[in-house]
Symmetry: C2
Subunit: 137 residues, 2 copies
DNA sequence: TATTGTTATACTCTATAACTATA
DNA sequence: TATAGTTATAGAGTATAACAATA
């Protein structure tokens, strides 16, 4: 059957988590991917686009559009790296920092609700399978 | 950080599992999605396309192309349902049954190797997180 | 009227190749 | 010559709308 297939369950677990985090973050005007970008950018020193892409395992051509969107929303700023003018260092704006902080809280809450939901309904099968397949019984 | 985010880990776990199953199944000329379709079709009575789509939580318009591909490979056959001629009942061919049987074995092996790999390398973080987040300690 | 399969279309995410400006 | 960012393009996977045949 299907419901003991890890591929099927991982796919639908991810779909449901994405749905939950997307609607939870919507009031901030961002989605989970954009929050992830803000998270790596806000972790320490400003990063070049490719550095941020590397940490997220995202292609550099995909990162261009992500930064475009965040810049349009006023959450980040591209500034040429004085030490290597091929690079853009991407800085969080004050607004970006605010959105990052509340976005992190919202994301954690949504993640926790998703995990709690695993205990009920159809999704219990995912937890069951993970428990068995990971040998955690 | 990123590596304790369930969304990030689920995504990359799925990517790696897909990669493993895709290359393991390649000698059979099918991928994991097509094996899943063969699995629901081979489970019991022949199903109409929408019934199969429903069990896989796949859109009926997507199912059309999936059945097209499997039919071109000679693994399934559409036959009009005599009881309701709007429907196609999709039957496994003998070749389709053979591919399903060995595909299932191959899939299970790949799944097991994926889980084993979780114990080593970077992916250990996934197992750690799942263990913690699912409260399985 | 409603439903099954189908086609056309579009949107998202991703990746490859080629361009520009720098190094 | 190599690299960072960019653009154009194409490939999956998905979904919506509309159509023909059938109920």
């Amino acid at each position: 059957m299907l419901h003991d297939r890890l591929g099927f369950l991982l796919k639908h677990a991810q779909l449901e988590l994405t749905e939950r985090t997307t609607s939870a973050l919507a009031p901030l005007g961002i989605n989970g991917r954009e929050l992830a970008v803000l998270t790596v950018l806000g972790a320490g020193e400003a990063l070049a686009q490719q550095q941020a892409a590397g940490r997220l395992a995202i292609d550099r051509t995909t990162m261009v559009d992500l930064i475009d969107a965040l810049e349009r929303k006023g959450l980040v700023e591209r500034r040429p790296d004085p030490a290597d003018r091929r690079r853009n260092l991407v800085h969080l704006t004050p607004g970006g920092r605010t959105v990052l902080d509340s976005g992190e809280r919202i994301y954690r809450t949504a993640e926790g609700e998703f995990v709690a939901a695993l205990d009920a309904g159809e999704a219990a099968q995912l937890k069951e399978l993970l428990r068995r397949v990971l040998g955690l019984d």
